[in-house]
Amino acid sequence: MNFDQFRTPGEGIEKLKHLIAKTADRDITIMEVCGTHTMALFRHGIRDMIPTGIKLLSGPGCPVCVTENSVIDKMIWLAGQSDVIVATFGDMLRVPGSYSSLNLQKANGANVQVVYSPLLALELAKKHPDKKVVFIAVGFETTIPAIAVALKSAKQRGINNFFVLCAHKTVPIALEAIAGMDNNVDGLLLPGHVSSIIGANAYRFLAEQYSLPGVIAGFEPLDLLKAIYMIVDMITSSKIAIVNAYERVVSDTGNIKAQQVIAQVFEPCDASWRGMGTIAGSGLKLNEDYVAFDIESIMRIDIAPPIEPAGCLCGQILCGTKTPPDCAHFASKCVPENPVGPCMVSTEGTCAAYYKYRNIGGSDS
């Protein structure tokens, strides 16, 4: 099977473009929850291909963007400890905390290693038994199983200098918060890879209790256009449902093995989201069996109270109540090489995506 057929130029794309334009008889606001969708939409120029009346807002699906300054300050504090190696996904390197960033700490000599997988961070711990290797555990349901697998392996192999700074968040409860906000969101483009873990059924309540339609989408041009068409069609015909348009990867019930491994290592907790405040039950922490791997269980992380950058609209942008051009800092004081807020840091951050893939002659971006 050649999955590149989902990006083949030609008739399929033209048909879907046509159907979207024909069906969209009113202004429609769609929130793409997932930051990788934001990137894919920009990268393929999808905004260019749909009527200007369809607004795409980027939601709280970028781990860099929703991680609060207090967590970022903690990881920066950890990087300053002489017996610690901080292992992190590349994205977290440039995120500004209240006072610094990992990148700046690294320039000052801190031991910060970029890894592609938590399993490689575990190998790093094995290689440096005299150091505490702390993996910055951010991310949603897609990423959490990998960290759970690494922790299970650490326990099994007795690697006791491997730790995590845990800031995981889960998607459905945050979407419930969004659904309850006053933000004019008519429908949701639901995250394909999170859904592959948790399954389509996890979102049914959005349609049933909040009358909010949603389509689970893949990331190729045909996936994206098809999903947009399906949302527009549901909204204009007043059929409210959660539809799975990424069938090749997502089932109703998700990946049970992955869900089990998450449950073996983590338990739900309240989590604080940048711009959205604390949402009960929307995070995960290490459970009793694994709490010894939590760096905060063995070190008292001593940070000054976090400071949020003045005038930064990242919080509202994540909830869909504002867009990047509404922010006075956007593209002036806040640019990718010198970000004010986190949404400009990650390449999938809403502001960075708006900045990088500004449409040509686009209506609102």
Partner: protein, 75 residues
Amino acid sequence: MCLAAPARITKIIDKDNAFVDIRGVTQKTNISLVDINVGDWVLIHAGIAINTIDEELAADALKIIDELDVDANEL
């Protein structure tokens, strides 16, 4: 939120690990969360296969788009 790349299982190393091929690039990947055989397609995220990719359902999805009824004159 989560980049993931389609990859094909080329060699199973042990119950937890396999080599996968992504357009000619080879990577060792953790397969403990999927039931797979050599030749199957999986989705790789952060060094781990998070799910399988169903080729039949992919073909069906393409077929549905192919069969969408749009008047050729309107395109």
